[in-house]
Symmetry: C2
Subunit: 737 residues, 2 copies
């Protein structure tokens, strides 16, 4: 009872009628505590005038009213005259005649860019948001509100901001029954059953959130596609979403199941060179554009993991993509054709993967190294795609591992615009319960140098089209959004969504800066706390690499659900679904030899890149086991053996999580109790699962190294058999099991 | 833009940083607008003293602090002394010695009852909440807060309230993969994957909401059970929920899959008379109670719709129930054994149900009328069940139709406590998008007179145990709760949850009173608006009866998903899954003859009840087609023919929904924009679907009646073939399809 009394003030905060449920994301607009700052903002922006009429401009005005009212406590007024106005929003085409003195370099702003500026009209200082387009004005509005939310000075604000990449897209792997493949935040926010008649407020808030960070496209459906979404009844539902999103500049896209002409069209074939098939897709596209004039286009996963595709008819990926490109091209649509394909000829090798034997027969399979297959299939098609086709490439050659070398396709298809595919949902990074801020991962990839045209040919330049002068450019993030009240289950999942949008707009932005502004908008302005949380976030990605897959290990998770450790997995349906295929542990050592003496995947990179990785003694150790099978005794740069270094890294991963826990615990008085407690529980799960990974992997690899754990590495608290016996049922995102 | 300007003040309300998302249910605690009332409440209740220490008392204090702070704007203080206190909470056992002058008839309060009273201590007026138990004090606390929320005078408050029914339970038909059978509000709020380590705030708020209306038990899992929930890993998760719920007096129960000893126990049989089976269940119960000492017990669906059960081993339902009763009985647990069984011998009759023919072969099937089967199987077992077994009976003989006669089992098993099973989730009442306030349905059943012991033997008295002097009593409501932000998808679904709790506590409560107090707590105190909304709610149940199944029609919905009309359904897997089985339309007339010349199900009722229904000319017309096959020309009490009356009722159903729309639209200035718009959209869906029902059913039945639509009935806007061709895919709650 005494304790209870002490806690009463806290209780009060916790149980405010509106708890901090995370629904508002980074658009909280809570009242600024500093009264002087509040009134300075309020005075400067009190009288709003919007020039022009459109749902997008109305959305900008609405957001300003909501944002300024919340942040300053003062409701701004709508100004009747230009003379009275202190905050003016207009486009190149609605700029009022009185403002001839104000010049903007509109040509530099492009389609989506904006300019925020302060100027004087007849001695009166005004703030101006302008752009070529209404959506540019809306982006500028969100930017201005962000400056207020992060408590920046705006008296002399001058911002010109133009996105580097044209199509900044989320990919939802959402099924029509509302399950989400690899979704860890509940179920799909698309309630197909109540569409088109019921427009959930969530749809609007989803569009707002995306617009606030510049995301301008969303693929509504899973790449493992269901053709039904292309039937008329479903297209009416898609149209309802498109209508709801349109004011926020968010275009809808769908995934196209290649066999749709057969499944729902009644045709006998889906051969892309068959004219009846071509007509079917053309008519389907016409039907879609009749309903949704700004429909974005199709995302296609073809001839991969069981999906149908042009190869089913002995046609090429280019044949398939071009047929669809022609269908949508007349309407201005694009095709994003995924390069995530791997050879179906690698079939199950029943008894090959016995982890208790040296895997003698693995070299055969290595010849068909999955790492190499997308490159092999797609580089030969360069130049054969229509102008409105992008090839969408996952950041790494395998599949969204905690750390991968960049995919060798980047830079290797000069005549084809390549889209980046990142995975925001954390299939391989602890799923819904680990704190992993992914901006450092995204940056590592975007900043990587392909040397495709010599030094400085970064992936960012491949993606934004500048390297090979493509005007079409795109980036995709596989969504981590679901029906949970806070959208992403883990409150810090929101940070990755936020950072993805910011980096899609500007790949040169800094991961730490983005983290800091997200924290300020989401949690607190208290400087020490901002620093603490930002530090946690920046450390989190290296932590997950260390406790899951240090030194270049990859794809050693549990089968099917991809949850938890499974370095022993050796009986999955395909050779390259098995952990043992990737880590190649044996009595000699560890790692996949992808040099010239092995699969030679390394040869897919430019010589400068190869040089970084080809020698096991000089290889960047972050990628060592991606490219080399090295001895347990191998000398690492630290002076330790590979085995000792491996053990140390696993321990470091756990230790970092524990430091994150201590950091978070220090914030109890700063963070609202609901979210404090929520993150505290999640970090506790993360620490437990980090230990699960460390113990499982070290016990398993120890059966090969036969070396003791070095000092400082905690001994596992169970046996290897115990860890191997853990069965994970009903893992989210993996279907019912 | 002009429109936009006019809308600005409204926009401000809509876009408050915290929108009205419905999450807070009826526990909103928003500040009372009347300042005098606020300060009168605040003055009276300013100093709180709680006598005793327990998580439940802490919860009561926490709720008071939150509620009073919100409602009055003043944070109450915790009083150090009895002298200072103005609001005192104690139990019989912690009543302070100074308060000897205050006497409470504790014997009358029972386990859960409470007393709120005003008294004077040394000339100082105090408000007292007392009870025999901590949970009684918590119930009293919620009651006091409800008086404030409904703005009642409390200066001289005197309330004694004792629940009529001992176990007031929600049944969740939630699966371990988070789908919900017949769930229309998203997915299960139980996130089994993150349990036991992550306690979602939703779990606490769920328990709070239930405690606030007296619900004291929850069955976590689907009656179509998965044995895995009984494995140790899942029991740890169940324990975590039980721990979270315990302060709020909410016990957890599980569904027991009868074949669990085989499925997870490794036994060869699940025969209830086999000692190894008995031991397995005893050990399982011991394991559960070791983790959860106050575990409630098991709910069992056995030998019904494919579920295993004792009949699989030629044992009776009593044999099965008693075995489980013995296992949990030593720990104080109970068994709720469902009477929802129907004869598996009624098998598919492939071509029997051709709706274009007179169904000549139906009389054979009528002999096995599903209506009769629960009665036939269970009455003979009366007296054979252990003392801790209840037989749980659905309110009607078929399956939660918009209107059913009460199940003839009520009153027919004097030696067995019977639990009522209502269905809050609206499987057959428009699912997640129709406004149907179910309290009038519940009341109709509870008030029905079984005449089991002569006049006045109401079902309420059967259920509360008073009729046959059972001390064990229970009532169950199949939950309408899911992961949607507002819990029930339709905001008015909350009203049915609320009313269920209130009626479980007091079956004599009035449906309109409950509606009114729910509206006041949930939407508004504006008297005209309260009246308008209450009227809508009270009309809503009769509306759904009329637009779906007037005059005693039943079970004519679409197959599988149970969504939308399907009077033509004649090819479902079992005879009694088909609409034509129930409505028996032919060229002569309509309805199921359940009199002595038909299936004679009527004989299962007492003579006084039979008298109400047995003559088609005097039968209560609400039940006419439940019991009679009458001519299309049959003279109804209105003077119309059956056909004209039927058409008129369908039209009335649609008209009532339109009146509800008009009523709601009149409230635009009173209701917050988010919920106003939400309900407006949902009513629009309801109107559309009411027309769909009317048109489909009238066109279909017209093929038999061959009579024209009477004046005032709108002609359908499509053909019967059109309506029959509608395919409903991915209907929520029906699994993927």
């Amino acid at each position: 009872m005494k304790l209870l009394r002490l806690l009463l003030p806290l209780t009060l905060i916790t149980l405010k009628a509106h708890a901090e449920d995370g629904y508002r994301l980074w658009l909280r607009y809570d009242k600024i505590e500093n009264a002087a700052l509040r009134s300075s903002y309020s005075n400067q922006l009190q009288y709003i005038k919007v020039y022009g009429q459109s749902p997008t401009l109305a959305a900008a005005q609405k957001e300003l009213v909501m944002g300024l009212s919340g942040l300053t406590g003062n409701t701004p007024r709508e100004s009747a005259t230009t003379e009275q106005a202190s905050l003016l929003l207009f486009t190149r085409f609605t700029q009022p005649a009185q403002l001839t003195g104000i010049t903007t370099d509109y040509a530099a702003l492009g389609q989506d860019g904006f300019c925020i500026t302060t100027a004087r009209i007849k001695e009166k200082k005004v703030t101006i948001i302008t752009a070529n387009t209404d959506i540019g004005v809306l982006y500028g509005t969100f930017h201005l509100l962000r400056l207020l939310q992060t408590q920046q000075p705006i008296q002399a604000v001058q911002v010109v901001s133009v996105p580097a990449i044209q199509h900044r897209i989320l990919n939802h792997w959402d099924n029509l029954n509302r399950t989400i493949e690899r979704g860890y935040a509940g179920f799909s926010i698309w309630n197909w059953h109540t569409l088109p008649d019921y427009i959930d407020q969530r749809y609007i808030d989803y569009a707002r959130a995306n617009a606030s960070i510049g995301i301008n496209g969303t693929v509504l459906t899973n790449v493992n596609a269901n053709a039904l979404v292309l039937t008329h009844d479903y297209l009416l539902k898609v149209k309802a979403l498109a209508d709801a999103f349109r004011p926020y500049g968010l275009k809808v896209y769908l995934t196209a199941k290649f066999s749709a002409p057969v499944e729902i069209g009644g045709l006998k074939t889906a051969d892309p060179l068959d004219t009846s098939v071509q007509h079917w897709w053309q008519h389907k596209a016409d039907e879609i554009y009749e309903l949704i004039p700004d429909f974005g286009g199709f995302l296609v996963k073809a001839n991969s993991e069981g999906q149908p595709g042009p190869q089913t008819y002995n046609r090429t990926h280019a044949d398939g993509a071009n047929m669809l490109a022609d269908a949508v091209g007349t309407h201005g649509g694009i095709i994003m054709w995924r390069a995530f394909v791997y050879d179906v000829r690698v079939q199950k090798h029943d008894e090959d993967f016995d982890s208790n034997k040296t895997n003698k027969n693995l070299p055969d399979i290595a010849a068909a190294d999955r790492f190499k297959q997308a490159y092999a299939e797609f580089t030969k098609l360069d130049g054969q795609f229509r102008k409105n086709v992008l090839v969408q490439v996952k950041n790494g050659p395998i599949d969204f591992q905690p750390r991968e070398p960049f995919s060798p396709l980047f830079g290797a298809m000069p005549q084809t615009p390549l889209a980046m595919e990142f995975q925001l949902t954390m299939e391989y990074l602890g799923q819904g319960t680990h704190l992993v801020y992914q901006a450092p991962l995204f940056k590592e990839v975007l900043d990587a140098d392909t040397y495709a045209t010599g030094k400085g040919a970064t992936i960012a330049k491949v993606i934004d089209g500048s390297l090979y002068h493509h005007s079409l450019s795109a980036i995709a993030g596989v969504s981590n959004i679901g029906s949970e009240r806070n959208w992403t289950n883990h409150p810090f999942g929101q940070a990755t969504w936020y950072a993805y949008g910011k980096l899609a707009w500007n790949p040169n932005a800094n991961a730490r800066d983005i983290a800091r502004e997200w924290v300020q908008q989401t949690f607190t302005h208290q400087p020490q706390a901002v620093q603490t949380i930002t530090d946690m976030m920046m450390a989190s990605r290296e932590a997950v690499v260390n406790y899951m897959t240090p030194l270049g290990l990859h794809h050693i998770m549990g089968a099917s659900g991809h949850w938890g450790p499974g370095p022993w997995v050796n009986n999955a349906g395909r050779a390259d679904w098995n952990s043992v295929y990737y880590h190649r542990a044996d009595s000699f050592g560890l790692g996949f030899n992808r040099t010239a003496t092995g699969s030679n995947a390394l040869a897919q990179y430019k010589p400068e890149v190869q040089a970084q990785w080809k020698d096991s003694n000089t290889c960047d150790e972050r990628y060592l086991l991606w490219f080399h099978h090295v001895s347990w005794q191998h000398h690492m740069h630290s002076g330790k053996t590979l085995w000792d270094e491996l053990c140390t890294r696993y321990q470091q991963g756990v230790d970092t999580v524990r430091r994150m826990q201590a950091s978070w615990n220090s914030l109890q008085t700063v963070i609202d109790p609901e979210r404090f407690h929520q993150v505290q529980q999640l970090l506790s799960i993360q620490e437990k699962e980090a230990r699960w990974w460390r113990n499982s992997c070290l016990l398993y690899f120890q059966t090969y190294s036969r070396m003791p754990l070095p000092a400082g590495v905690e001994p596992p608290d169970h046996t290897l058999d115990y860890y191997k016996s853990i069965r994970s049922l009903f893992v989210p995102g993996a279907g019912s099991n």
